[in-house]
Amino acid sequence: MAGRVIRISERNGRFSERVKALSGEEIDLCFQCGGCSSACPMTSQMDLLPSKVMRLVQLGEEAVLKSRTPWICSTCFNCAARCPRGIDIANVMEALRQMLLRSKFDHLKLETVGREELREIPPIALISSLRKFTS
């Protein structure tokens, strides 16, 4: 999405407001210091850095919902611990996941997890992944 012109419209505004409401975070406080991105242990797997996700949410760019980043986030709260503006970015990631999960979308297809795997993984792993990745 780098270098693209983003048109700020009413629709963009509504998207930002929805993320703010779901996450409860003051998204506009972010001034792009990048602290969250440097604190995040999962960036090697992400297509967008957490700070970039924040910027796109500020701009109301809905395409951010197509990003892999919220699904790679493991909710470790490192970003939140580092944010100088007091934003809990993990809450923003959750809001983005929820927006998709609440529209009949499942990130994890349980039927693709094999019996062998289910035999060994502890309940805590299954419960948490289903809570995070299914609607």
Partner: protein
């Protein structure tokens, strides 16, 4: 309050009918002309075939019952659930073991339980369904078997579960595992079976078989009754 009405109004598929107040939902539906080809079985509250959902006029509550057991009430909106679309996993009970993860292995969706308790509220047998689903998650097969013992597999819990769990199939697997691997074997039964096989009673049986009707009668009358 006037005298008790002898008929009540019920709604089946949205249409109002006057039916005798003493009838069960099933009898009332037959009274108004429905014929049950599916969704009826023992008519005695044991087979679980006649799961039914209803709401009463003026109430937000969606209630659940067995049509053959629940007596009609005035203002009931009734929908029968003759079949619950429910996935039942295939397994060979002889090859399974009662390990802590086995219920999660075959029914991993139990991990989605929200503890909302809707299943318990829907159960016409008044079982603690949520508690047994929770016991299933933590691998307590014995507890699942104990709490679900009176389950009829009517399917109402599965139809109401927001996590899309099919509790009664999970419970059935647990009871099978319990019966096969965990329940105490009754030693006195095994002892007696062994005695029979070894022929302990052969001679006596042979003697009884040789007796006349009159002799048997006399023996029966004179039998010793131990209290």
């Amino acid at each position: 309050m006037g005298e008790e009405r002898s008929t009540v109004t019920i709604y089946v598929m949205g249409k109002a009918y006057e039916v005798p107040a003493s009838l069960t939902i099933m009898k009332a539906m037959e009274y108004i002309g429905y014929r049950f080809v599916r969704g009826a079985g023992c008519r005695a509250g044991f087979c679980g075939a006649c799961a039914t959902l209803y709401r009463k006029k003026g109430s937000y509550k969606l209630e659940a019952a067995l049509a053959c057991q629940k007596v009609v009430e005035d203002g009931m909106y009734i929908a029968t659930i003759p079949f619950a679309p429910a996935e039942k996993r295939t397994y060979d009970i002889n090859k399974l073991r009662p390990t802590p993860n086995v219920l999660l292995e075959y029914y991993p969706e139990i991990a989605r339980c929200l503890s909302c308790n809707t299943c318990t509220k829907a159960c016409p047998q008044d079982l603690q369904v949520m508690d047994y689903v929770q016991a299933a998650i933590r691998g307590d097969i014995e507890e699942v078997a104990r709490l679900s013992f009176d389950c009829l597999s009517c399917g109402l819990c599965a139809m109401r579960c927001p996590a899309e769990i099919v509790p009664y199939n999970v419970a059935q697997l647990a009871r099978r595992l319990y019966a096969k691997y965990l329940a105490k074997t009754s030693e006195h039964l095994m002892r007696r079976l062994k005695e029979i096989e070894e022929g302990k009673f052969d001679e006596e049986l042979k003697r009884l078989k040789g007796l006349s009707r009159e002799e048997l009668k006399e023996l029966y009358d004179k039998r010793e009754i131990r209290v």
